[in-house]
Subunit: 342 residues, 2 copies
């Protein structure tokens, strides 16, 4: 902080009666310093309450020990929890993070890549939302970047993602195992073959196929917002369509929470009339009533992997190895919304 005139390496050196480089060496952990000298310097440091000026060190070293986390919106529990995991993982790795919210706005998502903060940072952990791989590729990014999250398209970048297909399939298989045969799907996206929505839809279809249940378009609801309010409307639309269904898989918990609210508002019983499952295992899934069955994608593991990969890329400097793709494990948290209260 600039408020009070902080003491420098020179002040310490003067007090200790050594040159400033000796102080620097001690700070950097060099072995070869005479015990008696070391003690004098440490004394001076304590006496002056000296703290190294990180900015100066950064300027010299060309690195800052900081990474940026570009994330759409902390108001959404999934992102908030993911951010928390990233921040913890980064701290454990000796990095500090710098949260940039983009609102999933394409311009802001792009701005992060060129913004003034990208100067300050050794690398970027990037959770894209509305931007796609082509645009990203066209950016010709010249610093370490790792893509993170569920919306990762097939891309030439390092990325860490979820078992989208497998998780969705497991959830839908669970619904089917309960004897449900008319399973709706909320959260499909038009016009994409990649990305979380497409993969989860494929998982859904896989599960139906293995059970010998025909896929039906009228049970698939498009919703690319994946938020609580849109989940509520999507469920409203499904109910209004008059198509009968006895279960629903939602692409994330936010959708499921919204859909659940609409179902209960409409006087339906969950899971009696309709069983419902989500994806993400956010904390609100555990405290809704009924509590929500959800695919738990191992958020901490994901965050740690992403931070670790980014750190590796930073250390490698310019020399990029082959791009890497990491997929986390998952489990299915089975709760009241599919199996009822205990």
């Amino acid at each position: 902080m600039a408020s009070t005139k902080a003491s420098t390496i020179y002040d310490v050196a003067k007090v200790a009666g050594v040159s400033h480089q000796t102080v620097s060496r001690l700070l950097r952990g060099y072995a070869g310093i005479r015990e008696e000298t070391r003690a004098r310097v440490l004394d001076a440091i304590k006496q002056l309450d000296y703290h190294p000026n990180i900015t100066a060190r950064n300027l010299r070293n060309g690195s800052t020990g900081m990474i940026a986390l570009a994330i759409p919106d902390l108001r959404q529990p999934y992102f908030a929890e993911l951010a928390q995991s990233v921040i913890s993982a980064a701290r454990d790795a000796g990095l500090t993070v710098f949260v940039e919210t983009t609102d999933g706005n394409p311009e802001r998502e792009l701005a992060v890549l060129g913004g003034t903060q990208s100067q300050l940072v050794d690398g970027v952990l990037y959770i894209p939302k509305s931007i796609d791989a082509d645009i990203l590729t066209a950016q010709n990014i010249e610093f370490p970047i790792v893509l993170l999250g569920d919306r990762i398209l097939d891309s030439q970048f390092d990325h860490v993602t979820l078992p989208n297909l497998e998780g969705a399939r497991a959830a839908v298989q669970h619904l089917i195992s309960l004897g449900r045969t008319q399973v709706a799907f909320i959260g499909a996206e038009p016009d994409t073959d990649f990305g979380a929505a497409a993969l989860r839809l494929r998982g859904y279809r896989n599960a139906l196929e293995s059970a010998g249940i025909a896929y039906r378009h009228d049970l698939v609801i498009f919703d690319s917002e994946w938020e609580r309010h849109s989940g509520a409307s999507s469920m409203r639309a499904l109910l209004d369509s008059g198509v009968p269904f006895d279960a629903v898989f939602c692409c994330n918990d936010a959708l499921a929470i919204g859909a659940l609210r609409t179902l209960l508002s409409a006087g339906l019983k969950v899971p009696g009339d309709v069983a419902i499952a989500g994806f993400d295992d956010t904390e609100d899934a555990r405290f809704s009533f009924p509590s929500l069955t959800s695919v738990a994608p191992g958020r901490d593991e994901l965050a740690r992997a992403a931070v670790g990969l980014l750190q590796r890329r930073i250390e490698e400097g310019g020399a990029r190895g082959a791009r890497e793709e990491i997929v986390s494990g998952y489990s299915l948290a089975i709760r009241e919304s599919t199996v009822g209260a205990a």
Copy 2:
């Protein structure tokens, strides 16, 4: 970023055929530069894709344009939403923020104040949880700091806080206006006369008094965690106590969501048997079923005020004026948990 050799002000100067200071001046927005020179420099900047090195600028200027936000835990919606508001407000103010999560852990809360990142930052927005004013005062903090949030104790620091008493009173008055006479209170804290819990409890008592209802200890549940899981247990405890009640005010929405779940699990009707209100107006309050009546404390206003105050302190440099206290406005969002479905 350090990955590729970035061009400097000198490179630009050489290409443009001027001295590097001229480039610097143009960058800093000085008026006195000949039109023709300016064009040449801008050309060179574009041609070289020059971006100023923020670290160097910071070293020179002694400030970084960054602030730290020390916050307990993004997994809790209240904090996540507050963080989002702070980040937005900071961006509007030209500052970037740096999120430090403390887990409400006293050591980590203290560490933020001395940590290496406090070097990097022009000031700190501090959301304390377990730390109290005495400890903070003892720290002899020598940089701009603004306390933010609901747990602010009476202190010698600048702080921005919520209308704790008034908000709680309004919520309880609302419950009473519905004809409820046995209003429970969840979230009291033992041994404090200050802080959000004490103030909200006072608001509760005020509302009872104005209505001529006697205050009863057996309707007040202690809970200093203020999380969903603790709200669930607290409500469990209240039910088990056998004390009859027809309404409950919870100190925050997390408690209320947990309590609501317990009520519904127990087969009680909300608001038929028990009306329930919370505080914070987090987004999950709007999507529970029934949706939750809650005190809305004007989060954006709060965040903007806090960022503004901090920025002012930073600009004032060392010269601290009188400490300032800002209290946000509030409104009461009335929803199904007190008045039933529409």
